[in-house]
């Protein structure tokens, strides 16, 4: 069964849909967590600490966090590899362009590949910035995420990179969530409107939720 999945274009697309939905579920939780920054540094830093003690005493310190990280890395890799392989196949299947060109498909649909590349690069940047601190501007302090976030969004490039990525995410989700419903075979004529609406709402809520943090730092609401 695993082989059928990975060898078929339909199966690989299923891998993409499932891994995409895993990332999407994570991002909803992540966005809600980020909003705690509006309730002050104590609450935000405590929340970050609580993530490490999540599941105790059943789980050891940081285990829940590491399990999440492993699942997410697996999802990102599976998603990116299948996206790459399927895109290669698609480009090969249509080598000659039409002379008479027409504007096609919606913006969200046409930007899935570039948007995906932007998201992939952003994920790497984001981890180096706020998890490991490697590219962090100013003194990165583990355990003090509130100050780290403010440092990041006090630089113009920190804001630009973040906001571009979040906009790309919104577009990606807009087409991606509805697509995943079709790929997994749960879409139908009667449910189509509902899936499109949920996709738009998810895209909008995630975009606004994530963007609110850098905007708040820029405008001094959070400092």
């Amino acid at each position: 069964m695993t082989r059928t999945m990975w060898d078929s274009s339909v199966g690989k697309k299923t891998v993409m849909a499932v891994s995409g939905l895993i990332m999407l579920a994570y991002l909803v939780v992540h966005m809600l967590g980020n909003l705690k920054i509006f309730f002050g540094s104590d609450e935000f830093n405590e929340y970050a600490h609580a993530l490490r003690t999540l599941g105790e005493p059943f789980l050891h310190y940081e285990w829940a966090l590491w399990i999440t990280r492993v699942v997410l890395v697996a999802a990102v890799v599976a998603h990116a590899v299948s996206a790459y392989q399927l895109s290669r196949r698609d480009i090969k299947a249509r080598p000659t362009k039409y002379v008479h060109k027409k504007p096609r498909a919606s913006y969200a649909t046409r930007t899935m590949r570039w948007g995906g590349i932007i998201l992939g690069l952003f994920i790497v940047w984001h981890i180096l910035d706020l998890t490991t601190g490697t590219v962090h501007p100013g003194g990165f302090e583990a355990g003090h995420p509130y100050q780290n976030v403010i440092d990041t969004f006090s630089t113009w490039y920190g804001n630009v990179i973040y906001i571009v990525a979040v906009l790309a995410l919104g577009l990606h989700i807009r087409h991606g969530f509805w697509s995943a419903a079709q790929t997994l075979g749960v879409g139908s004529r009667t449910r189509d409107r509902a899936f499109k609406t949920i996709a738009n709402v998810l895209a909008l809520v995630l975009t606004v939720g994530f963007v609110s943090v850098p905007v708040a730092v820029m405008t001094g609401v959070v400092s």
């Binding site: 060898d7 299947a93 027409k102 790929t183 879409g187």
Partner: protein, 249 residues
Amino acid sequence: MKLTLRVWRQRNADADGAMSTYEVDDISPDMSFLEMLDTLNEELILGGEDPVAFDHDCREGICGACSLVINGDAHGPERTTTCQLHMRSFKDGDIIDIEPWRASAFPVVKDLVVDRSAFDRIIQAGGYITAPTGAAPEAHATPVPKPDADFAFEHAECIGCGACVAACPNGAAMLFTSAKVNHLNVLPQGAPERETRVLDMVAQMDEEGFGGCTLTGECATACPKGIPLVSITGMNKEWLRATRRSGKR
């Protein structure tokens, strides 16, 4: 009407092709698009030139032989086949670009004719039912619920023209294949091969070098028979079901 045609000319499968420009005059709005091309070809033949090769057969929208990408649209501006497209859809003085279906699985044979035998091989992989031949069985011998019959009929309308592939930015044959899978999988007559049909047809589709689905919906917009995009969703569902089942066996 007087029209300027820019037509893809290609001597054979291996030659390089290019767009050539022709003028045609005295085109009646009641002519079909193919009759307009017949007029062009008559002039070319009289002038001692090679006529433009294009596919056609029934000329009544049921066989799926005609093709042509007209001004960037598979089968042209109306939702119908090229043979059923009339010149009243164009205006005097228009410039019309005419190109063949483009997909690596549909190589150009000559001018506007492409080789669509990849579709035949997808059908051979599972687009059939196992039934004894002979006299037609009594129509009520196998009851089919009305909604299933309607669903099957809607998908049976696919004429295998390949416009879906031509319109798809990925050269995917998902709409065609899903039309066949849905048509046969919903009927009791198609039940014995329900799983193998979808697995084998999708595998053959991949094997032929068609692309994958990115749900742009261009196929369903181009389809002259109105096969809907959710048809692909239905095939994905059948494929996942068959994969789960074959894993158990």
